[in-house]
């Protein structure tokens, strides 16, 4: 195997291409460069979103006005939600780490449709720019919440159509990525790599890609219908014109519930990569984990109306959807148990990525279990639209996906940039993030349980103590995240050179130099073992 330290190769940053300078990025078809472009743009949006979050928490320090007006607050939570969902966490792991790692992990030179891949980034940017532009148009920033519920979204004076178009275009970007990944996984695996020899991150990208392809068109059509309704008053959704507002909620959640699995599945895939590497042991229950990804993707289509229990849907459907919701817990549980079983009796190195995984398992379990509380009909009636929900989804999305986003960043950083960061500092950010996160969001469970409604600018004095604790928590959390990011940037600028395989990983991306050459593999490898082979008997 070639050595990373030999200067006999040119990495993809320095390779001669058709274009130079900025154009070598903007016109590239290299999956690695596209992944990095996604990373830069997405991290920018993430920081804007977090700034909005912190400002909202500062507003909640006191009842009544603290820093912004009620209308501004409405616009802020809407924008925060839109950015975090559509511009950060839905494209999230697939667009960055999927693009960069998928071809490397299956032993390919690029994705199946490299130009389409670049196009998806342009769609993504167009959507992002539309969303930002809409802030400065006639009506002012949109204030409907990220869910665009009817009838408010056709009545409000703020500008709704441009943000809707932004979401529509972002949907196309998502679909293109999905089609690209499915084709790549079917057609471009290295010789010998059957489906059950693929890394589990690839499996999770595969399941995710199918959700992107099948579910995303539904939000596209729904968005067009809302725009038509707003422009021409057709009476599709508006009850005053004979429409059905619940139809909108159905259509919206038929996409948006599967979308939460677009967010979490790739994160679970990354966990299944990190754990064997740091336990020096093959993954326990490979097939169970692979199939549970498909099962989650599949069941995920049939639970959407658990967002609508209090909206006036029929008793029959409430019963059915509550039952189906509980079923999702099974494949999720399968994953968690298999991860724990992999760690059991492993030879564990507590590297930074593994610590993020620990953080994930803890926070995601709280998020998942409180999901079951919300999935039961009786408790849902009490907790719907309270801060309990806000706490729940931050635990799953932030505590789940975003923590693994950070973990994956620390795991693949040496491969992507060929540099190392300071591991000691990185380790110290984790307790800071842990404390800040739980102060910020655990208080919200209690607030919600005590009746504090979500999306409110004002509140009764009795809620203040908890709000103050929560706000201070947000400062601690953000401090941790900033230290983490600065540490990574320092590593990028003046970190030591990273070896080819700093963690002792077994998947194919660790067999090429860091950073990889343009076409990844000098020779396409032939696969004879499962992806996490540390010697001994293999699972059949």
């Amino acid at each position: 195997m070639e050595n990373a330290d030999t200067a006999s190769y040119v990495d993809f940053y320095h390779a001669e291409g058709k274009h130079k300078g900025i154009l070598s990025w903007l016109l590239t078809t290299d999956h690695k460069r596209i992944g990095l472009m996604y990373m830069c743009s997405m991290m920018t949006f993430m920081l804007i979103g977090m700034t909005l979050g912190v400002l909202m928490k500062i507003e909640m320090l006191t009842p009544g006005k603290t820093i912004v007006s009620a209308q501004t607050y409405n616009a802020m939570f809407t924008l925060h939600g839109l950015i975090m969902i559509f511009l950060f966490i839905i494209p999230g792991l697939p667009a960055i780490f999927g693009n960069f790692m998928l071809p490397l992990q299956i032993g390919a030179r690029d994705v199946a449709f490299p130009r389409l891949n670049l196009l998806s980034w342009y769609f993504y940017m167009t959507g992002g720019i539309f969303a930002i532009l809409s802030l400065f148009l006639r009506g002012g920033p949109i204030d409907t919440g990220w869910t665009f519920y009817i009838p408010y979204s056709i009545r409000t004076g703020t500008d709704v159509i441009l943000p809707l178009l932004a979401a529509f275009i972002l949907g196309f970007s998502s679909i293109i990525t999905g089609i690209n990944f499915v084709t790549t996984i079917h057609r471009m695996r290295a010789p010998g790599m059957g489906f059950f020899k693929m890394p589990l991150f690839v499996w999770s990208l595969y399941a995710t890609a199918w959700i992107q392809i099948i579910a995303t068109p539904i939000i596209g059509i729904t968005i067009i219908l809302v725009i038509i309704e707003r422009l021409f008053q057709m009476g599709i959704f508006d009850p005053a014109l004979g429409g059905d507002p619940l139809l909108f909620q159905h259509l919206f959640w038929i996409y948006s519930h599967p979308a939460v699995y677009i967010m979490i599945l790739p994160a679970m895939g990354a966990v299944s990569e990190i754990i064997p590497t740091f336990a020096k042991r093959t993954i326990f229950g490979y097939k169970a984990i692979a199939y549970s990804s498909l099962a989650i993707a599949f069941i995920g289509y049939f639970v959407w109306a658990h967002h609508m229990f209090t909206s006036g849907i029929s008793e029959t459907s409430r019963f059915i959807f509550s039952l189906l919701t509980f079923l999702v817990a099974i494949p999720s549980g399968v994953k968690v148990f298999n991860w724990v079983a992999t760690l059991y009796k492993g030879s564990i190195t507590p590297g930074v990525p593994l610590l993020f995984v620990m953080l994930f398992v803890f926070l995601f379990s709280i998020g998942g279990l409180t999901g079951l509380v919300l999935g039961s009909l009786a408790t849902n009636a009490h907790l719907h639209d309270t801060y309990f929900v806000v706490a729940h989804f931050h635990y799953v999305m932030f505590g789940g996906t975003v923590m693994i986003f950070f973990g994956a960043l620390h795991y693949w950083f040496p491969k992507m940039f060929g540099k190392m960061y300071n591991e000691k500092i990185a380790k110290w950010t984790i307790p800071v993030i842990f404390v800040g996160f739980n102060m910020l969001y655990f208080t919200m469970f209690i607030l919600g349980y005590e009746g504090m409604p979500r999306r409110y600018w004002d509140y009764l004095p009795k809620y203040q103590t908890l709000h103050v604790i929560s706000t201070v928590g947000s400062w601690i959390l953000v401090t941790g995240i900033i230290i983490m990011l600065v540490n990574l940037i320092n590593g990028l600028r003046k970190g030591p050179k990273a070896p080819m395989n700093p963690w002792g990983g077994k998947t194919l991306e660790w067999t090429v130099p860091s950073p990889p050459p343009v076409y990844n593999f000098e020779e396409i490898p032939v696969i004879t073992h499962g992806p996490y082979y540390y010697g001994g008997e293999e699972e059949k």
Binding site: I213, I254, Y301, F302, S314, E315, T316
Partner: protein, 96 residues
């Protein structure tokens, strides 16, 4: 590959025009049917006509009829998902 090559010649312009005319006819049928009050059947008939139309589009215009089996499996899967979504929605619509 051989098979695909031969199949390319199967559909001529005549077929495409014919299918297009059928689609126009079915659209007229949908519009006409919406003029009658058929109670609960209104929805079912509209969906039925739409399903027939999409069958033509998918098979002929999108060429799925002449493609490999794997594409049909994938399409079938998407179709079953859609069907399940319709059934689940109907538990709300018809029992509200």
């Amino acid at each position: 590959m051989e098979k695909a090559k031969n199949d390319i010649h199967k559909t001529g312009y005549g077929t495409y025009v014919l299918i297009w005319l059928i689609l126009v006819g079915l659209t007229i049928a949908t519009v006409t049917a919406s003029g009658f009050n058929l109670g609960d059947f209104t929805l079912i008939i509209a969906l039925l006509i739409a399903a027939i139309k999409s069958g033509f589009v998918i098979n002929i215009f999108m060429h799925i009829k002449f493609e490999d089996k794997i594409f049909k499996v994938f399409l079938g899967l998407a179709f079953m998902t859609l069907l399940a979504v319709f059934v689940l929605t109907s538990f709300d619509v018809f029992f509200r």
